[in-house]
Symmetry: C2
Amino acid sequence: MSRGKSNSYSSETGTPKAAVERLSLYLRELEALLESGQKTISSHQLGQALKITDAQVRKDLAYFGQFGYPGIGYRVEELRESLRAVLGTDKVWPTALVGAGNLGRALLGYRGFAGRGFQVTAVFDGDAEMVGKKVLGHEIHPMEDLSRIADEKGLVLAILAVPAAAAEEVASKVVQAGIVGILNFAPTQLKVPDEVSVISVDMALRLEQLAFQVNQRRGHVASPSESKDE
Amino acid sequence: MSRGKSNSYSSETGTPKAAVERLSLYLRELEALLESGQKTISSHQLGQALKITDAQVRKDLAYFGQFGYPGIGYRVEELRESLRAVLGTDKVWPTALVGAGNLGRALLGYRGFAGRGFQVTAVFDGDAEMVGKKVLGHEIHPMEDLSRIADEKGLVLAILAVPAAAAEEVASKVVQAGIVGILNFAPTQLKVPDEVSVISVDMALRLEQLAFQVNQRRGHVASPSESKDE
DNA sequence: GTATGTGAATCTCTTCACAGCC
DNA sequence: GGCTGTGAAGAGATTCACATAC
């Protein structure tokens, strides 16, 4: 694995959750740097790109290994590979998409995913109307086939793009089928066994956070349609 | 405003960012409780629903006012109204959608938004092909019309569902048009003036976080297609 | 008895500052 | 000179525990 040195990020201990999030951002920046042909980068430069301190960058990376060279900085290509290995994006993750509605279809075509090892390998929908149709080249399967196909194709992750009301039930089926990681787009807090990871993308919540911030700025008694009732 | 007491959440100071996020979750839980007809709820119960401690719930709420009744708990209806006022979801926020591709169209139809005061009032796209067409009853306008329409309709927020490469430019146009809050779906860190709020929904990043978590579980030398190259 | 609101204690994360290396 | 990795200090967030109120 490139340069020697440790790499024993035992994790589980100590690593701030936020640090792992920044890892993704570092990786993204490194990919851009690769494009631009830059060979090395310092923690200071990397920090500037993400508006964080250089110390933060070094600490974050140090949680996962010794990647830098004193006096030089980090080798872009090498650090990229290391971070990909840490995040797991150096592997292919066979992924199921559950829910072929508007959002599901949008996610199916979303670049960001395919380009990063997240290969949507099968699409499912609970609606009988949908089953059998094709979206972007993928046939839509009924939920009943989930377990079988999950076995056949070795599905590991699932993207849940279903209505909130259905999310809980779908999640349990997905878990039954042996999926170990769920990306949940429903505004619900899923109940799953401990050994299954869930990450949620809560779009409505984010929009509310935005409203809050803007609301604060406006001194709390300002312009947006001051309509009451509804 | 309902019961007396302060309500002077001066904010800007002290309020943990995470507390504001939980506010949205409390609100969601309260809406569900309203449905079920429950009149009051304790910090303990509310905490259980979101898997956090009762002390956390009380601290969070206390940042924004005095909403509780010792011995009783919180009145569901009243707390709901208070939180809506704090978050700003008691008002209507005229919102622009920029980018009418797959994701944009999905967001346009997304319940979660419309049901919460976020009314998409105008749709824009930079692609001449798109302009003039209708999506879900909304005509797609060219970017050139953004400023004019923003003025006419009093647009306050914008949802950016455009490719990463276009995001920066679109953001500056949106800011030019007087938008003060941006919900950004592109995996880019936008540069905007201080007086504009940006909240990002980074779906690819979230999926990577999921991969990381699963990767950790598997002891770091396990099953997902151990393919290398490409 | 029940339950809130809040200072104090604890835990977690970030920044500082510097030894060590190129 | 420039830069990393890291212990120690500082900031921030969460939990404890209790005075107060119903």
